[in-house]
Amino acid sequence: MSTNDPEKLEASIHRLLRSIPDRRAPASLEARVLGELSRRAALPWWRKSYAYWPSAVRATFFVGSALAAALIVSGLFVLARTTGATALAGGVAERFSWLVLAREIAASASDRLRTLIGAIPTLWLYGTAGAIAICYATLAAIGAAAYRTLTFVRQNP
């Protein structure tokens, strides 16, 4: 029988592949699985994920987290309403005043760069972009050729 016919080839390959038996799993697999399960079972609850915590602990943790969140929010609210908060905000703003200076420097550099690029002829810009694209493509082609060559050598020593 010839396998030039794709449909016959498909049926033939399918019959062949489905006829082969499973491989035997390594003898070490069972011991590895049982060992890992025993190791996990021996862990205390606090070293397992939340889903495995005892129900009482999970409930306590949930209520405690909610209380902590409420305390933090209400604490921030109270702090914001006190007079000391304004002084604190002023202190923080003064400490980070360098950020304002950095933003001004960046804006100035950006303006100068834009002016510089505007002064360059468009043809030069396209030429440079084209050269970069060619270099990138060349590098990718060399990498692909090297990879395929090395892979072929490794598979066919």
């Binding site: 080839l9 033939s12 062949l16 390594p26 697999l29 069972e30 699985v33 996990r40 889903a51």
Partner: protein, 199 residues
């Protein structure tokens, strides 16, 4: 991606039971074979099989009484194997497939008459036949072997394979077509040396 088919409960039991050991012995060859055919590496297949059975243990209460346990295990093994391949081989896909037609022996190569692959091994011991086929499968490039295995061993349709592998439907069909031709060619070469055994 969620690797596990939907389940209802989880087992955080203290230690593996004898039932689970029996369950594992029943399915470990199937799980290991499924993984090994996809990742083509026994050590990695064993790691993946271990993960599959640990997930199975977490759902053992459901699986132990389910007639679909084998399918569940096979699905998880397939998903974990594909995740493994995608995690470690994505970076090489571009290079390995760029202009890569030399490994695609198949529809574009001159038609060669060779016997149907399933007739090569008539009268040959099943284990020996499996070894020949596994060796031939291992010679296929990943982008042909993986869809071929998913289609013929796992019965996954073309469109789902394309979706799962993140490639076009046309590419999946072409890769599987070429994989079949390449596999038949490899087996026919092997079959010539095997022929005396089958008579």
């Amino acid at each position: 991606m969620n690797d596990e088919p939907p389940v209802q409960n989880q087992n955080s039991g203290p230690a593996p039971t004898a039932d689970f050991t029996t369950f594992m012995r029943k399915y470990q060859n199937m799980v290991f074979t499924t993984s090994a055919r996809l990742v083509k590496n026994d050590a990695q297949a064993e790691d993946i099989s271990q993960d599959v059975f640990i997930k199975a243990y977490e759902h053992f209460e459901m699986l132990s009484s389910s007639p679909a346990a084998g399918g569940w295990l096979k699905t998880v093994a397939t998903n974990l194997s594909l995740n493994h391949l995608q995690r470690y081989r994505n970076r090489w896909r571009f290079f390995s497939e760029l202009g890569g037609r030399d490994d695609a022996e198949g529809e574009d190569s001159p038609a060669v008459e060779f016997a149907a692959p399933d007739t090569f091994f008539e009268g040959v011991d099943a284990d020996e036949r499996r070894a020949w086929v596994d060796e031939a499968l291992a010679k296929l490039p990943d982008h042909q072997r993986v869809p071929l295995v998913l289609y013929h061993f796992e019965d996954i349709p073309y469109d789902q394979i394309a979706s799962r592998l993140g490639v076009s439907l046309a590419k999946v069909k072409t890769d599987i077509l070429r994989a079949r031709a390449a596999l038949a060619k490899i087996l026919s070469r092997g079959g010539e040396s095997l022929a005396p055994l089958s008579h």
